[in-house]
């Protein structure tokens, strides 16, 4: 039996693992925090959110993971991504290999040009943010809304509450707008 252990084992199915990736200024960590709080506000699921720290976080690439499970989450890091959000080409290239077979890939078509699969959802988050909300900074919120809509990992209500809970005073409307756009645009491309 022993010799075959590794071949037989399966990554536990009770975990849902997301990675939000992009470049330093795109607010991926904040997005992961909001996603975690949205899930936490909604039900009793457990969440572990983590990211890579260090000087590389200044500028450069940025990634933030969220692991969700109804059971105790032993291993805190992602093992096999159920969902990958890639806001830049670089992040897609880096992390696509970690996406599990059949996992959900969501990309920002504003900046990502080269996708190694046909099985993905693409929306121009940054462009939508700039053009429809007027500030590029909410691209991450639009992406969150799209994730919610496309995967059902969290409800619209829960996400909205979480986003507004973190929105700096005076930015509530822009964030609400961003959410709407995200939900709508995603609904359009939902299969």
């Amino acid at each position: 039996m022993a010799a075959k252990l590794l071949d037989k084992v399966e990554i536990p199915k009770d975990r849902y693992e997301m990675r939000l990736s992009g470049s330093g200024g795109q607010g991926m960590i904040l997005a992961a925090v909001i996603m975690s709080e949205a899930i936490g506000g909604a039900d009793e699921r457990n969440v572990v959110q983590s990211q890579s720290y260090g000087p590389e976080a200044r500028g450069g690439a940025s990634k933030a993971d969220v692991v969700v499970s109804e059971n105790e989450i032993y291993y805190p890091k992602a093992m096999n991504l159920d969902l990958l959000l890639a806001m830049t080409q670089e992040s897609l290239d880096s992390y696509y290999p970690n996406l599990k077979e059949g996992g959900t890939l969501i990309i920002d078509t504003t900046l990502v040009t080269d996708v190694p699969t046909d099985n993905y959802f693409g929306l121009p988050f940054t462009q939508l943010a700039r053009e429809k909300v007027g500030i590029i900074m909410v691209a991450n919120v639009i992406a969150l809304a799209a994730i919610a809509e496309l995967t059902g990992v969290v409800t619209r209500e829960a996400l909205t509450k979480a986003v507004l809970g973190r929105a700096p005073r005076g930015t509530e409307d822009k964030n609400r707008k961003a959410l709407e756009i995200g939900f709508e645009e995603a609904a359009k491309i939902k299969k």
Binding site: L5, L6, V9, V33, G40, V48, Q49, Q51, Y53, G54
Partner: protein, 377 residues
């Protein structure tokens, strides 16, 4: 009953919540990655509850202020990482010698030296035991989740107060920086231990009296007990002694008040050990990989169990031996080049012991552990 609020907290932040719950009212520290959020959160929260935060000029000053504040009367804590912990050792020894309760959080990062400031490690495990000069009897607890960090920090304060001694919380970068959704304990939910105050009159008061359990009552400043505190070896009144009949009394008091009550300190989690042939022993974030791997391997029929240590020092010799009693093989999984394993080797010479080490700045993956299980089985 209204639903309790869940909070998304980093381990470092949870640590502060736990500390405040336990009664911390004083924090002195010096920033260092990956512990800095402990200081930052303390700076933010303490004024709101009338507590005190001070950023000291360095780690030596931080632990000194913590000890001073504790003797003065407040439950006190500091937080640091390896380089800072190294610097604190002299005064941790002072806290030990003067029997001053306090909590030191060490968020472990990659060493040696400046090493890997933003990467995880468990390479300060042995330092927590043997770091200070002189004979020292360490207490160290080790959470592995954000929720644990709350309860283990509370436990650290309780142990510090119960035993009048410094207690180390061995965190690591992964726990420190991961965010998890947790419920904070409500008022009254967890037991809080406060140092025993003297009941004798100031005239009769003997500062380091030999009590049945070795712990002497401890007054705060301003309560009328004016006693002497010194890091020199001292008699039961706190006065320096060079006498061969008094020196061992003090040293044995320090040791036995802890070593004779290890059952109050030990805490071990056991999963799937009933019929396990292989036990994986681990703590902290390495334990999370071990638990995950155990779960995975069990699903495919491997007779493996996991033993997670929540208290590292005093090393739970007897209890651990008992828990691993049946299995012949032990894997010690740790994020260093082999530290815990020396203890395991010492206490379980009869077992086949395998080491599983990772020291490249990342935590062990469950699959690495499974692979090792496969090798061993």
């Amino acid at each position: 009953m209204p639903a309790r609020e869940r909070k998304l907290l980093q381990g470092n932040q949870a640590c502060v919540h736990g500390a405040i719950y336990a009664g911390m009212r004083f924090f002195a520290g010096y920033p260092i990655t990956p512990s800095t959020e402990v200081a930052e959160m303390s700076a933010r929260l303490l004024p709101r509850i009338g507590g005190r935060f001070i950023q000291m000029e360095d780690e030596i000053g931080s632990i000194a202020a913590v000890v001073g504040a504790s003797i003065s009367g407040l439950k006190s804590m500091t937080a640091t990482s390896g380089p800072g912990y190294s610097l604190m050792l002299e005064n941790i020894g002072y806290a030990y010698m003067t029997e001053t309760p306090c909590v030191i959080v060490n968020v472990q990062r990659g060493g040696p030296s400046t090493g890997l400031p933003t990467k995880v490690s468990q390479s300060d495990t042995m330092q927590a035991r043997y770091g200070p000069h002189g004979d020292y009897c360490a207490i160290a607890v080790a959470p592995s989740t954000v929720a644990d960090t709350v309860t283990e920090t509370i436990r650290a304060f309780n142990l510090a107060e119960r035993f009048r001694t410094p207690v180390t919380v061995l965190l690591d970068e992964v726990i420190a920086h991961s965010r998890e959704l947790i419920y904070l304990p409500e008022e009254g939910e967890l037991e809080i231990y406060n140092r025993v105050k003297p009941t004798a009159s100031p005239e009769e008061f003997e500062a380091f009296a030999l009590t049945p359990n070795g712990v002497s009552p401890m007054p705060s400043y301003g309560e009328g007990y004016r006693y002497n505190v010194t890091g020199l070896t001292h008699d039961t009144h706190g006065f320096t002694t060079n006498r061969v009949d008094e020196i061992p009394v003090k040293l044995e008091k320090l040791r036995h008040k802890i070593a004779d009550y290890t059952d109050e300190i030990e805490k071990i989690r056991v999963e799937h050990m009933d019929d396990a042939e292989v036990a994986i022993i681990a703590y902290g974030s390495a334990a999370r990989a071990a638990l995950q791997a155990t779960d995975i391997a069990r699903k495919v029929g491997a007779k493996v169990g996991a033993v997670q240590l929540y208290s590292i020092w005093p090393f739970p010799d007897a209890k651990l031996k008992e828990l691993c009693g049946r299995c012949k093989k032990v894997i010690v999984a740790e994020l260093n080049m082999g530290q815990l394993i020396t203890e395991i080797e010492r206490i379980m010479p009869d077992k086949q012991i395998t080491t599983l080490q990772r020291y490249d700045g990342e935590i062990l993956t469950p699959l690495q552990v499974v692979k090792k299980i496969e090798e061993v089985l």
